[in-house]
Structures are given as structure tokens and as C-alpha cells.
Assembly symmetry: C2
């Protein structure tokens, strides 16, 4: 059992390596043997520190969510004085850009399946909640009920996520950038009109 300080440094090193491998090569490349060999430690040490490989991957996802959050915050601030519908569109486009630029990180969030019975930690859910909060803030003046607001934000996120995923994966016969943007605009415009958000 390594001493506390050494253990902390090793935990950080394993996470850094896993993050780099996932970002550069994708989820499938994150293998215990590969990560520990680069960290110059035994495979058992990874399990000793993180419990299992999935828990280490979830730590990488949390870094991805923070990075995504920073991108969305910037987009949200940039459109702070715009109408709510324009703020929604800015968020959708920023999410699309993140998916394009951080392709492997983004795909891994949705590809990664936890073993049966294992759940993501509360910190992960809290981060997801913060990101969805950015959408909720755009809708808040137009959806009074807290439960409905929660549902509306999740509906919109799932919708934009679906449109973007199908386009980037080349399903539905592939979509140009302009076509993807037009599909997102239809979604946001409909929502804005449906909620009487005023001008778009």
C-alpha cells in the first residue's frame, strides 16, 4: 500500500494518462494495462486506488463535463443580452462545436456503460445538473412550474444531442454543417414560439 502522498500523486498521474489516452484515441484505448504501464505502476495499483477502470473513466468524464461547462458558459455569457431564444441557439451551437473539437471525449460520455448495479457518483450528477441549469435559465421566465422546467430543459438537451449525434455520425445520409444548423434552428425556433418567447 503506497504512502498517502505518493498515493495521491499516483492517482493524479493515472487520471492524467487516462484523460490523454481517451481524448486522443477514444474510450476503447483506455485499458488498465496500458494506463498503468505508462504510469510505471502495477495493474493492481490502479484497482487499489480507483476500485475499477470504470471509476477512473468516470473521473475523466467529470473533467470532460467541466470543460464542456466552461465552453457553454462562454457561449451563454456572449449571448447574455440576447433574447432567450438566441441564447438557446448559442448554447446549441457551442455544444455542437464541443462535440466536433473534443470528439473522443464527447463520444465517450455516451458510449461508456457502467457495469450493472454501478451508478455515477453524486458529483457527476451535480455537474450534469449544472449544465442543464444553463438551459433552464433560458426557459425560466416562460415555464413557471419547477418540474416542467426540468422536463423542458432535458427535452431540449436530448433533442439537440440527437440532432447533433445523427449529423456527426453521418446517419440519415449525412448532413452538411448548414443542414445541421438548420435542424437545430428549427428545434429552437419551435420551442421559442411554443413558449411565447417573443422575437427570434
Amino acid at each position: 500500500m503506497p504512502a498517502p502522498k505518493f498515493r495521491e500523486r499516483l492517482a493524479a498521474r493515472l487520471l492524467d494518462i487516462a484523460e490523454r489516452v481517451l481524448a486522443e484515441e477514444g474510450l476503447a484505448a483506455v485499458q488498465a494495462r496500458r494506463i498503468t504501464s505508462e504510469a510505471d505502476c502495477a495493474v493492481g495499483t490502479l484497482y487499489n486506488i480507483y476500485g475499477d477502470l470504470d471509476a477512473l473513466i468516470v473521473c475523466v468524464h467529470e473533467r470532460t463535463l467541466r470543460l464542456l461547462g466552461a465552453s457553454l458558459e462562454i457561449a451563454s455569457r456572449g449571448a447574455a443580452r440576447a433574447a432567450p431564444a438566441d441564447r438557446l441557439m448559442a448554447l446549441a451551437l457551442a455544444y455542437r462545436d464541443f462535440a466536433v473539437v473534443h470528439r473522443h471525449r464527447w463520444k465517450a460520455l455516451f458510449q461508456h456503460v457502467l457495469p450493472d448495479g454501478q451508478e455515477v457518483p453524486a458529483s457527476y450528477e451535480a455537474q450534469q445538473g449544472e449544465l442543464l441549469g444553463l438551459i433552464e435559465r433560458c426557459l425560466a421566465d416562460h415555464v413557471a412550474d419547477a418540474g416542467e422546467l426540468r422536463t423542458a430543459a432535458r427535452s431540449l438537451f436530448g433533442s439537440a444531442h440527437g440532432i447533433i449525434t445523427l449529423a456527426l455520425e453521418g446517419k440519415l445520409g449525412g448532413a452538411t454543417d448548414a443542414e445541421l444548423e438548420a435542424q437545430l434552428r428549427f428545434l429552437v425556433e419551435s420551442t421559442a414560439r411554443g413558449l411565447d418567447m417573443g422575437k427570434f
Copy 2:
């Protein structure tokens, strides 16, 4: 090289086996060795007939799309006299039901990535177009421009697909059936109001 009739029967047998394996065990279980061993033929025969395993899998997908089309047609007919928005909701729920019941078939449509440079055959695209046509018909009285109608239908399909995928895969902290339905309803209601489809 097998004689024509024998070859046709073998092609059908390989397809039937691949379809059953994919439907029961998922895309990853569809391996050339497994399929040909069950069909009592050499691995090379599969390549000889289909070109490669991916082409055989695309043939399975075409059967899946036909099955999906039949489900959506039934839902569409059942709601034929309802308002367009209610027809859209019926389609969304039928798509959700298909994804639940034919889980492996449905996942495989989106998991399966063709090798670089290979494209789905025209027959596959035509079938996709027919399914999207069911959505277009619900919107046709409210979107005059043919290009916009095409975009609107693809936007709606991608949206419903995204909401359903995240819910069934347990992302976003998991959603109950009622929550999934509420998210789909928010999407359809917004679209209906946005397009002035009248009562919902």
C-alpha cells in the same frame, strides 16, 4: 462458386442467421465465423456472396427498417383522424416502443459504422426516406417549402431519437417512462405550437 439457385438459398440462409443473432444478442455477436458455421458453409462463401460482413449487416438493417416502418404505419393509421400534432405524438411513442421491444436491432442501426469510403446502398436510403416521409406528412400543411419540410422532419426525428436514446441508455440520471413521455410531449407540443398546428 455455388450454382445460382444454391447461391440464392445460401444468401437467404446467411441473412436469416445474421438477423436472428443480431436481434437476440446484438451487433457485436454478428461475426463471420459464427454466421457461416451456423449456415454450414465456409467463411469465404459469405465474402463471396456479400462482399463483406458489413454489407450483410446492412441487409439486416434493411429488414429492421421495414419492421420499424410497419410499426410506424400502424401508429400513423391509428391516429389518421387525429390532429397533426397528435399524429406526431403517436409516431414518437411508436418509435419509443420499437426501440424498447427491438432493442438490439434498434441499437445496431446507430452503432454500426461502415468502413471508410463505404456507403449504404440506395435501397437503404430510400427506406429511410419513406420513414421520414411519415413525419413530413404530419407537417406538410404547415411547412410549404419542400426543403424546409425535409429539414423540419429530420430535426424532429433527431430530437425524438435523442430524447429516447438518453432515456433508454440511462444517461441524464435515468428517466422514468412518464418522464420520457413528458419530454417527448414537450417537443411535439412546442413544434405544434411553433407551426400553428392548432389544438393539441
